[in-house]
Every structure is written in structure tokens, then in C-alpha cells.
């Protein structure tokens, strides 16, 4: 029916033109016009089968104009039933109920209001039959706000890039002039601009001839080139400040407390499609300001979506981008997806959802128009799950039994069986030992081997007992007493530096890297120096006394001490990262307040960080990745999934096993690594399994296990596996070469997975593979037991690759067994080849 209408409408529209052209009177034409337009509209809708308009939103939702120089731009975004969005600002109509109060004009950043007369009214916005009302308030319309160095001038330096690390923000400045990096020190910047080199940088008698303006406009040679023109708003702002006599701000100038950027998500179809962003800053005095032209926008994927100086997004190649917006000390981000226009995509009907994990993963994939891959085969699943859950390879018996099992529930049963094994605990003890940096020091008096072992034993006990992680972490953070009696107190022995302790705690327990903010406000995140030193203050009253044994330290709450802010040199009061400053009685253990906040169920970091760590272990990539680098510019790629996993941890009292079971029984975990047509380019949204190199310890243990040739590890009993190493200082050439964590830092980057030349040489020529193949004597044993050549080949394949050889492989291998060759030599060479194969070294 719709199609029919479309044809009729088109026909009619065309014939109208012809009719008019053929000499019909204008009156008749005008009579025909409304009808044809109406028909055309419905025709367009019908013709392209355009998804229905589901929502129209106006940003911002309210408009406050205060003082004569204020302004506010407005944008309109439409969302359609297929999830696509469109910037419809230019197609919308805007009308003020009381036109006297404000002026309305179209600017680069949207429809922009400027104040005329005080009062309240509303802005009526209409698009495609939907209308919205935005309240408008105008205050002090006739009063000019005095120009401010911090509010007006410094944002220009940041926006123009003057105070970046490559320019004047460098710690030594550039070409003789220094600004604080991203403006962390306004007083210092004011001093350097106006006083450090009097009469040089500013000229109050002839403001236009101030060097700061002449350089920025490149009227005198400037290494940084021309940053803006004399006609620009930036120029006018600095000039106005100079004309006013370059005043210093009074104390208590309003601070920016929040930055809002809209729209939060844009799904743009087709290269070249644009969406204007709108940025508004909120100040401590309750005022707000349109800062779209003063905000620094950065895309993390300029191939997919680029962003202009003034915040206009443009879709390019297919992909996903996060746009970081920074204004003064505040940073926030928005997401933008670029989808090909008229993409022919249908969600496969065969995708079942095993649990909430699949629901969230698939929701994101649908939005991206990506279909998940097929589910992997049984042999792959068993190998993958056994390696991930237990850090071991499945035994040949387990492989054969699993392949022969016809139960439809066999994968769930296998996951449960693997979870009940001791090796599952060992894997997580190892991972926690890395986070807690359990390692003896080169100087034994700092951290003795004995202390490291006690700490490790304590940890192993906690994980074995399945002590809820929030409880365990609370015990660590508040640990006091002699380290021999309370090994958890080694948390404060491993690291003695207050600032490092704070950094490590933030990184290991919250997944946040605050290191940058030690010296300057974080450029790609929201952390300021105040946040950094406020958080460090929680660790500033840890007392350390020598115990009776020289290897022992007694940890106490010294109830005194603090950390000083490098700008100003004053003690900083404890303040939770991204949270409030707690009321603390003098002498109260600051760590107790921190532990309570950190492990509270509503803490925004703790459970999410743990959930992400677990997820990353099983899927090969975090939802935030790397797992310990949550940032505005590196957000969770699927926040709903991360929230759900975190909620699961909290509701199960941090029972890891339940979360792991959810993950391993999800369809997402069981996907094949082979991509399909739609998802081949995706490696971030879990649309197919990641092929991952097996980590150092597990790989060494696997080689030891399949060859049967023991590995003697220093300080460990015979038969112990590398996964069980207690002291981070214990290593072997193999482990170091394959990137074992040294545990010198809590960074996830400690575990290195990249290939390198030494690894290849070692597997080919080194004493691990070659010697173990010989020393284990497996081939000889099998021959002695009367196994045929084919049986032995089968056994070697199942042991190493967890699958029997293919027919093609059997045929190709037969050629290597010549009459003149000793069969055991060729079989050992095959064993060696299998251990050097990518299929062995990678989990897939």
C-alpha cells in the first residue's frame, strides 16, 4: 500500500510541474501545491522506508543568560527507530515566547541567544511535528561582567594550545616563556605574563602591541605559528583584558565545578554526516556559561569520527570514537559511532542469548551493525576454558572424554568441574600477587624473602578461603601491627613512599592512573593536582617502626603528617578520588575512612575494576582496556555490560566463581575466533574470540606438563608450577623472555604478551623445548608401550593442541617418515614442531 502511494505521489508531483509549465494559471498551480507537497512528504517517508522519528532533544534543556556579554547556543538532535541520530538544528524552527528578552541568531555552534532585557520566557523548538519548550531566564542584561584572567583569558591559552607540553606548558617553557601545563597554576601564569619580564609580554599603553598578541597572531615570528586572527573572539578576549589594565582576579573567583557536553551519543550514518556538540560549564557561584568555542575537543579515533575546533563531529570511516572535551580543570566525554549509509545489515536469527552478558554484548553489536561469530567447536572450547580457568592444558583423557560426551549440557558441566579445581585458585593468587607487587627487594632489609613469602601465604589463604574481596582489601588498606603477625601489613612495606602508595592503590584497586596529576592536571582525564594530593593524604599518616626481627616492620597509624601541594606548599586534606572530603577527627586512622569508601557497594570504581579484571582475563581484552587505565578519554566500551558484571560481583558478595561461571557459559565467551563478513574489523566489542598468546608462566607449565620433563624453580618444591611462584623476584630466562610480570609495579603492562626475537630463538634453539622433549622421553615411553606410529602422532596432537590431527596433516606428516630414518627421531621432531606451533603457543 505504501509503495503504491509513493508511486502515485511521485507521478503526481512530476505531472504537476508539467502541468504548470504547460500554461496553467498560477492560481491553479498554487491550489495544487499544498496537496502535492503533502503527498510528497508521505511519499518520501514511504519510498526510503525511513525509520520513524522516535525522539527529538534540545540541548541545553534550560537557558540562563546572565550579564550582557553572555550567550547560549542551542542544538537539536533527532533519534530514529533504527538507532541513528541526526543533527536537525538547521531544520528546526526556533521562536521565543517573548522576543524582547533575547536576540536569536544562527551561529557556527547552533541557534544562539544573547540577552536584551531581564525576565523569563521560553524558547519553542519545532521539528517534524514535534515541539519542545526550553525555559529561558535573562538576568543583569544591562550589566557587563568585568573581565577575568582565570575565567576568560586562561581558557584561551588552553584552547589555542599555548600551555600544552610541546609549547609553553613545557616544564622549562618554550622560547623563554613558560605557562603552567594546561593551566594548573593560574597565579604563576599571571605572574609570568605580567611581572616576570616587565614591559616585554604585555603593553598596557598600547595593548594591541603586546607581545602576547603579536606572537599569537604571528605578527612577530612565533615558533607556534599563527594561533588566531585579530578578528577572532580569542583575540578580543585577551585584548579586552589588556585594555582593562590586565587586572589580577580577586580571591574567590568562581571555580568551574562541572562540564556538560551534549549529545552523549551520536550514531551518524554516512561519511560526511555531522553533529554539533554543545558544551556548558557550571561555576561554583551557580552560574553557567556556553563554553563550546573554548572547550578543547579530542577524538580518540580520527579515522572514524573527527571533531572540529568548535565541536562539530564529522563521520568518516566506519567505527567508534570517544570525544574528550576539556575546559579548565574539567573533562568529560561523549561517544560517536560512524555507520555506513544504507548498510544492508540483518541481525542473524540464530543468535541465542545464554545470559545477561550476551544481552549487553549483543545490544552493542546491533548498534554497530556487527553480527557475532558462530560458536566454537568442542575441542576449541575445552582448550580455551581449561587454559583460562585453570592455567593448564586439558589432559588427553579429558579431551577424548569431552569430545565423546553427547550431553547438551557438557560445556556447563565442564566449566563447573574446572572451577572446582585447585589450579583455578592458583591463577587468581598469581594475579593478586601481581596487583599487590609481592616481591622481595634487592635490599633484604626493605622487603625480605621471608616477608614476601609470608605476604604470599596470607594472600593464598584469603583466596583459598574465598574471603570476599571487599573484606580482603579492607584488611589490606587498614592493616596495622607487626608484619610477621599480620602479613597484610606488608601492603605498607612493599611501598613506603606516600605518593607511590596512593598511585599504586588507585591503579591496582580502582583501575585509575593518577600519576600524571602529581605534576599537572591530567590532560586526558578529570584528575587535578588537588584530587591527587587529596587522595595521597589518606596514606600520609602511616607509621613504620622496626620490629624485633630486622626483617619485620610494625605498621601503625602515626596520627600525624600530611602531603603538601607543590603549588602553594600547603597541607592537603584527605579527599576521596572523585568523591567528597570526609570529616575526620584529628588522629583518626585516615585509612579506615578510605577503606570504607573504597569497598562500599556504590563505589564507582572498586567492583567495576574487579569485574573488568576478570572479564579481561577470559576475553583477552578489558571492557576498559588496559584494565588499569580508566579515563574520560578511555571509557568502558560497553558500560552496561561492565555495570552488570560489577553488580553481579556485589550481589554475590564478591564470589569470583559465580562471575566466572556466568562469563564462561555465555555465548559471547564461546564464540569462534573466526570472524564473519560484518565483524572482521572489530577487535574491541567481543564479536568474535580473541586469539591470545598464552602468558609466560602458563606456557612454561604447559611445556613441562606435555613433555613430562620437570622444571625446577628456585625456592619452590619439586613439581611446583611457575604459576605458583610466590616471590616476584624468582624467574627464569624463559619466564623473563616471555614477559612474566616482575611485580615491580602494579601496572597491567608488567605482563608482556608481544612476540620478540628472543622468544622465537628460545623456542627453536633454547634449552626449554628441545631438552624437555628429550628428557621427558615421551615418545620412547609410548613406543615401549607398543603404541603405533599413528597412535603416537594422535597422542602428541591431543596433548599439545587438544585435538587429533586432521587427515591432511596425517598425510603430509607421513612423508617425513622415510625408511632410512629412525622413527623416534622423527616423532621427537614432530613433538618439537608442535611445541613451536602457533596453535600451541596461543589460546584461541
Amino acid at each position: 500500500m505504501k509503495a503504491f502511494l509513493a508511486v502515485v505521489a511521485h507521478h503526481f508531483a512530476r505531472s504537476r510541474v508539467r502541468l504548470c509549465g504547460a500554461g496553467f494559471t498560477p492560481a491553479i498551480c498554487s491550489l495544487l501545491l499544498p496537496l502535492s507537497l503533502l503527498l510528497c512528504l508521505s511519499a518520501l517517508n514511504a519510498h526510503a522506508a525511513k525509520p520513524a522519528l522516535t525522539e527529538v532533544r534540545v540541548y541545553p534543556a534550560d537557558i540562563n543568560l546572565r550579564t550582557s556579554g553572555d550567550r547560549q547556543s542551542v542544538i537539536v538532535q533527532a533519534t530514529y527507530a533504527d538507532g541513528l541520530t541526526r543533527d536537525v538544528t538547521a531544520e528546526s524552527s526556533f521562536a521565543l515566547a517573548n522576543k524582547k528578552l533575547a536576540n536569536l541568531a544562527v551561529t557556527a555552534t547552533g541557534s544562539t541567544l544573547t540577552p536584551l532585557v531581564d525576565g523569563t520566557t521560553e524558547l519553542r523548538v519545532k521539528f517534524s511535528g514535534k515541539s519542545l519548550v526550553v525555559p529561558v531566564k535573562v538576568e543583569a542584561a544591562k550589566t557587563a561582567e568585568p573581565i577575568s584572567f582565570i575565567r576568560d583569558v586562561m581558557p584561551v591559552f588552553t584552547k589555542a594550545g599555548c600551555n600544552t607540553g610541546g609549547c609553553h606548558g613545557s616544564s622549562r617553557g618554550k622560547d623563554g616563556f613558560r605557562l603552567s601545563l594546561f593551566g594548573y597554576d593560574p597565579d604563576g601564569d599571571y605572574y609570568r605574563l605580567t611581572r616576570e619580564s616587565i614591559t616585554r609580554r604585555i603593553n598596557l599603553a598600547l595593548p594591541e602591541e603586546s607581545l602576547v598578541l603579536e606572537k599569537a597572531t604571528n605578527r612577530v615570528p612565533h615558533t607556534g605559528g599563527k594561533l588566531f586572527t585579530p578578528e577572532s573572539e580569542h583575540y578580543r578576549t585577551i585584548l579586552a583584558w589588556l585594555q582593562a589594565g590586565a587586572p589580577k582576579d580577586k580571591a574567590n573567583v568562581p571555580q568551574v565545578v562541572r562540564l556538560e557536553v551534549h549529545p552523549k551519543q551520536s550514531v551518524l550514518a554516512g561519511e560526511g554526516t555531522t553533529q554539533q556538540l554543545n558544551a556548558r560549564a557550571f561555576y561554583s557561584d551557580g552560574s553557567d556559561r556556553d563554553v563550546t568555542t573554548l572547550t578543547v575537543f579530542m577524538t580518540n579515533n580520527d579515522v572514524a569520527v573527527k571533531v572540529s575546533e568548535t565541536g562539530k563531529l564529522t563521520a568518516l570511516a566506519r567505527g567508534e570514537a570517544f570525544i574528550t572535551a576539556r575546559f579548565e580543570t574539567q573533562a568529560t566525554g561523549v561517544q560517536a559511532l560512524s555507520i555506513p549509509k544504507d548498510l544492508n545489515f540483518t541481525w542473524p536469527a540464530s543468535v541465542a542469548e545464554a545470559n545477561y552478558i550476551d544481552t549487553h554484548v549483543n545490544a552493542k553489536l546491533r548498534k554497530l551493525r556487527l553480527a557475532p561469530s558462530a560458536v566454537c567447536d568442542d575441542a576449541t572450547f575445552l582448550r580455551r576454558a581449561t587454559l583460562d580457568i585453570t592455567g593448564t592444558l586439558p589432559t588427553p583423557e579429558a579431551v577424548r572424554a569431552f569430545l565423546a560426551d553427547s550431553s547438551p549440557q557438557k560445556r556447563e558441566t565442564a566449566v563447573d568441574a574446572l572451577l572446582s579445581r585447585r589450579e583455578f585458585v592458583d591463577v587468581w593468587v598469581m594475579k593478586w600477587a601481581e596487583l599487590l607487587q609481592i616481591r622481595s627487594a634487592d635490599q633484604q632489609e626493605q622487603m625480605s624473602t621471608k616477608s614476601a613469602l609470608q605476604y604470599f601465604d596470607w594472600l593464598e589463604d584469603q583466596i583459598t578461603q574465598n574471603v570476599p574481596v571487599d573484606v580482603m582489601v579492607k584488611n589490606l588498606v587498614t592493616a596495622s601491627g607487626p608484619t610477621f603477625e599480620n602479613p597484610a601489613a606488608n601492603f605498607y612495606k612493599v611501598e613506603r613512599d606516600t605518593l607511590k602508595l596512593a598511585e599504586n592503590a588507585a591503579q591496582a584497586l580502582m583501575g585509575v592512573r593518577i600519576q600524571c596529576a602529581q605534576c599537572h592536571n591530567h590532560p586526558f582525564d578529570r584528575w587535578t593536582m588537588n584530587d591527587y594530593y587529596g587522595f595521597a593524604a589518606f596514606f600520609s599518616q602511616v607509621g613504620r617502626k622496626p620490629g624485633e626481627d630486622p626483617r619485620e616492620t610494625i605498621i601503625t597509624n602515626s596520627a600525624s603528617g600530611g602531603v603538601k601541594h607543590p603549588v602553594g606548599g600547603k597541607d592537603v586534606a584527605p579527599k576521596f578520588l572523585g568523591g567528597p572530603a570526609p570529616e575526620l577527627a584529628k588522629g583518626a586512622d585516615r585509612r579506615a575512612a578510605l577503606a570504607d569508601w573504597l569497598t562500599a557497594p556504590d563505589n564507582p570504581f572498586f567492583a567495576r575494576n574487579l569485574a573488568n579484571l576478570v572479564w579481561s582475563h577470559f576475553l583477552g581484552r578489558g571492557i576498559v582496556d588496559p584494565v588499569d587505565d580508566v579515563r574520560v578519554s578511555n571509557p568502558a566500551l560497553n558500560p552496561e555490560l561492565l555495570d552488570a558484571l560489577a553488580a553481579r560481583l556485589v550481589s554475590s558478595r564478591y564470589d569470583f566463581k559465580q562471575l566466572v561461571r556466568d562469563i564462561c557459559t555465555s555465548r559471547t565467551y564461546q564464540l569462534s575466533s573466526a570472524p564473519n563478513d560484518s565483524n572482521a574489523g572489530d577487535d574491541r566489542n567481543f564479536s568474535h574470540a580473541a586469539v591470545r598468546r598464552i602468558r609466560a608462566e602458563v606456557l612454561l607449565d604447559a611445556i613441562t606438563a606435555v613433555t613430562g620433563a620437570a622444571e625446577k624453580l628456585k625456592g619452590l618444591p619439586d613439581g611446583a608450577r611457575a604459576v605458583e611462584i610466590a616471590d616476584g623476584r624468582t624467574s627464569t630466562y624463559f619466564l623473563t623472555t616471555f614477559g612474566r610480570a616482575t611485580r615491580e609495579t602494579p601496572c597491567s603492562c608488567e605482563v608482556k604478551m608481544e612476540p620478540n626475537l628472543s622468544q622465537a630463538l628460545h623456542l627453536l634453539n633454547g634449552d626449554t623445548v628441545n631438552a624437555k622433549v628429550l628428557n621427558g622421553g615421551l615418545v620412547k615411553k609410548l613406543q615401549k608401550a607398543g603404541r603405533t606410529r599413528a597412535e603416537i602422532i594422535d597422542e602428541l596432537y591431543v596433548r599439545t593442541l587438544s585435538r587429533p590431527p586432521t587427515e591432511k596433516e596425517t598425510t603430509a606428516l607421513a612423508a617425513f617418515f622415510g625408511e632410512s630414518k629412525k622413527e623416534d627421531v622423527v616423532l621427537n621432531d614432530l613433538f618439537w614442531s608442535l611445541l613451536n606451533a602457533k596453535e600451541f603457543v596461543f589460546n584461541h
Binding site: G166, A304, S673, S758, L761
Partner: protein, 448 residues
């Protein structure tokens, strides 16, 4: 976008590393989809990218670098900057001797080096403020002050990243082992790490780790194994595509090339040197490590870093210097002469380097303590001046007196000589662009 540096196809830089596999397998259009952390452009970054295009000298002066690192902090007074006219407590226990350059004196244990002073540049005004071993070491290996937020790569790893391997040999080699984490890859992937020979060439049992075939495996059997491995690998290779797999393949290819190239293996074989040459360098750690370094750069290795001795002479500096310096002296002078005679000195930059100098005054235990404000290094070949002394320290060796050389300027000059633009930005995994050298200037006065 920046020009890709001239890599061999199987040694892409980190960013390309992510793409190359995709390009080769599923087509160029796919490579841009959903790529991990792309470019976080800042105005500063944009500015540098412009300079990158013009960078990378087409014909660098130094084709190779030998970095001789003297760990612990070699005293400048007891080496290249004797304080002849200072009171005895500053001058120290050693005498000064004349060199081949008029008016230039070295400490008495540098007798041989004094004879090649006309071939080298001595810098007497090296300066930084890092008085702890690890911080000084970090500065001199990376060209950066240590940062709490980021691990910087060593200069060798930057060379590896920017220039890649040559003649089947690793681009960056350490003799004998990686002695400090700062000789490592920092924010670059471990693919750009050094290959450590793993054994001291001065010892009888010297053999390069994993380079020679294991006992009982002859080249024919190795070839058989290699063929068999390709059979075993074929199934998986056909099914699975990933950058990590391509990466492993490329390093296997490099390993095969190295193992089976007689030339590559011979580069490590110090026993192939004539007995006299080995004697001339000295049958000790200093001599044999420097000789091995010469063999390696001659064969095509781009950056060789070796360590010798332990120079943290807090006590009895006279005795300590007397046991270590003569071997260094003989080896270094022989190395410079040898390179020069072979016509390699102009294309090989030889650095004598340490983490800092030592206190102006002799301490209570007849030694000297850490002193980073001013110290000496030596630069030879690779376009450096011959017979030149750069900068000076004051009368007591306490502060730079003229032309202080900062770590950044030092690093910028070295990179410039090997054909790497020190102002180029490299993207770190966290999306923060990092300059190869920050705020460094090429010191023209050092260059011939």
C-alpha cells in the same frame, strides 16, 4: 599523517604493527574499523607531525652506535677532566698526563686514550640533576628525566622502532645482558627490545644464547624440523588471523634468517678474530666486549650497548680506578684506532657514557660520592669532531663552566646523527604522544 619510517617489511613500528596483518589478510578498508586508540591529536602533536615529514636525514652520518656504559658513575676527575690546578683534596690522588691534543690533559690511567685524543670529542660539561643511580641511568639511557607516569624507551629501542633491523641481525644488541630496566623498551612494545648476547665474550665458555643449534641437531635436521613445523602450523594459519600471530611469524622468520645466515652468526663469533687483535683489545671484559661490539656494527647492527666495570667508587678511588681504568683505556683506544683503520669510525658513533660524575672533594674514605651537576663523557666518530673538548667544568669540577650539555641536547644530537628526527612524536599506548626527545637541541658545536 606522518610518513612511515623506512622499515623492512617484517619490522613495522608499533602502530603499523596493528595494521600490517590486517592489510595483508582482509583488505585495507578493514584496517581502519574500530581500531584501538587512534590518534589523540593535540595542537602540539600537530605541530610536530609537520616537522616529521621533513625529518629523517636521507643519509645519516652514523650508521651504527656503540654505547659503552660505565655503570656506577665514573669520576670525571679521574678520567677526562683532571683538575690539575686544584688543591689536593679536589685534585685527588691521580696525576694528569698530556694527550695528543695540545693543552688537553687526561687522568694518568688513560695513557692509551691520550694517544687517540686527536680522534675523539670529550665533553666535560655533561650535566643533569639526578644523583641516584637509577635516575641517572634512566637519564643517560633514555634522554629523559624519570617520570612517575610513563616508562620511556631506551635510545636503542627507539633506534629499533624507527630504523628496524639490517642484514638479518637484530637492530639493538646488549653485551652481555640487560643490566638496567632503562635499557628496555619503555612504552614501546617488547618487539623493540634488545637482543642480549647473554654471555660474556671474555670468558672461554662464551656462546650466544639460543643462536646455535642445540647439540645433536645438525643443519639438515633443523631444516627438516622447520619444514615439519610449517606442516603443523598450516592448519591454524589458514583458520586464524591476528596481528599477534603475524608478529610471531615475523619473529620466527627473523630467527630462521639469523640461525641460517653464516654471516649473521659469524658476527657474534669472537673466536674468528685473529689472536693478535683479541690481545690488542685486551683479554678481559672491556676488551672483548668492545671487540664484539665492533664485529656486530661491522656486520650491520645499528645500536650496540655494552657495560664494563663498576664505577661507584665511594672508597679508595685510587685503587678502584687503578684496577678498572687501564683495561678500559687499552680497549677503548684500540677500538677507536681499529674503527678508524677500517674506515668505520666516520660511520660509527662511539659513546663513553656513565650515569653521573663524582663529588669535587675526596671524601673521608678516600673516594668520591655521586655528583650529577657536571661530569664527562666521550663521543667519537659518526660525524663528531676529532680532537675536540666540548664545554668545561669549573676549577673544582663542581659546576659546568662553559657550554653545559643537557641530557636532552645530548640525546637529540645522537638521534640526529643516526638519522632520526628527535622532534618526532610517538603515540604511547595510553594515547599520549611523546616526543623522541623533549626540548632537545642538536648541538652543532659537537659536529665535524
Amino acid at each position: 599523517m606522518q610518513q612511515p619510517p623506512p622499515h623492512a617489511p617484517w619490522q613495522p613500528n608499533r602502530r603499523e604493527f596493528l595494521y600490517v596483518g590486517l592489510l595483508g589478510t582482509i583488505g585495507a578498508t578493514m584496517s581502519d574499523l574500530f581500531r584501538a586508540q587512534a590518534h589523540a591529536a593535540t595542537p602540539a602533536d600537530a605541530a610536530t607531525l609537520d616537522t616529521v615529514a621533513k625529518a629523517v636525514a636521507a643519509n645519516p652520518r652514523a650508521k651504527s652506535v656503540i654505547n659503552i656504559y660505565l655503570p656506577g658513575g665514573m669520576s670525571h676527575q679521574e678520567s677526562f677532566d683532571p683538575k690539575i690546578n686544584s688543591p689536593i683534596e679536589y685534585r685527588g690522588p691521580l696525576e694528569a698526563i698530556k694527550t695528543k691534543v695540545d693543552g688537553v690533559y687526561f687522568s694518568e690511567n688513560l695513557k692509551e686514550t691520550a694517544q687517540i685524543a686527536d680522534k675523539i670529542t670529550v665533553v666535560r660539561s655533561m650535566t643533569h640533576g639526578e644523583a641516584a643511580h637509577e635516575r641517572g641511568t634512566h637519564s643517560m639511557f633514555t634522554g629523559y628525566r624519570p617520570s612517575p607516569a610513563i616508562q620511556y624507551p631506551s635510545m636503542g629501542s627507539i633506534v629499533s622502532h624507527e630504523l628496524g633491523p639490517r642484514n638479518d641481525l637484530p637492530p639493538y644488541i646488549l653485551i652481555p645482558n640487560q643490566s638496567t630496566p632503562y635499557a628496555g623498551t619503555g612504552y614501546l612494545g617488547s618487539a623493540y627490545g634488545a637482543f642480549a648476547v647473554g654471555s660474556d665474550p671474555a670468558t672461554d665458555g662464551y656462546s650466544v644464547r639460543d643462536l646455535t643449534l642445540p647439540g645433536g641437531i645438525d643443519p639438515a635436521r633443523f631444516a627438516e624440523r622447520r619444514e615439519m613445523r610449517s606442516v603443523v602450523d598450516a592448519h591454524f594459519s589458514a583458520l586464524e588471523k591476528s596481528d599477534a600471530l603475524d608478529g610471531m611469524d615475523s619473529f620466527y622468520q627473523r630467527a630462521y634468517a639469523m640461525i641460517s645466515s653464516d654471516k649473521a652468526r659469524a658476527a657474534f663469533d669472537i673466536k674468528a678474530e685473529p689472536k693478535k687483535v683479541r690481545d690488542d683489545y685486551g683479554r678481559n671484559a672491556a676488551g672483548q666486549r668492545m671487540l664484539l661490539a665492533r664485529r656486530l656494527v661491522e656486520a650491520g647492527v645499528r645500536f650496540v650497548s655494552l657495560t664494563y666495570g663498576s664505577w661507584d667508587h665511594h672508597d679508595n678511588i685510587k685503587r678502584a680506578n687503578g684496577t678498572q681504568m687501564p683495561n678500559f683505556d687499552k680497549a677503548y683506544a684500540t677500538l677507536i684506532r681499529d674503527l678508524d683503520e677500517r674506515g668505520l669510525l666516520d660511520s660509527t658513533l662511539v659513546i663513553v657514557n656513565t650515569e653521573f660524575g663524582r663529588t669535587p672533594k675526596i671524601n673521608g674514605t678516600a673516594g668520591r660520592d655521586h655528583w650529577p651537576k657536571v661530569f664527562s663523557i666521550a663521543l667519537a666518530g659518526g660525524g663528531m669532531k676529532r680532537g675536540y673538548v666540548h664545554g668545561s667544568s669549573d676549577a673544582t669540577g663542581g659546576e659546568p663552566d662553559a657550554d653545559p650539555l643537557s641530557v636532552e641536547d645530548y640525546a637529540a644530537t645522537i638521534f640526529n646523527q643516526v638519522g632520526i628526527d628527535p622532534g618526532k612524536a610517538i603515540m604511547t599506548p595510553g594515547g599520549r604522544p611523546q616526543f623522541i626527545v623533549k626540548d632537545g637541541h642538536i648541538v652543532k658545536e659537537l659536529l665535524a
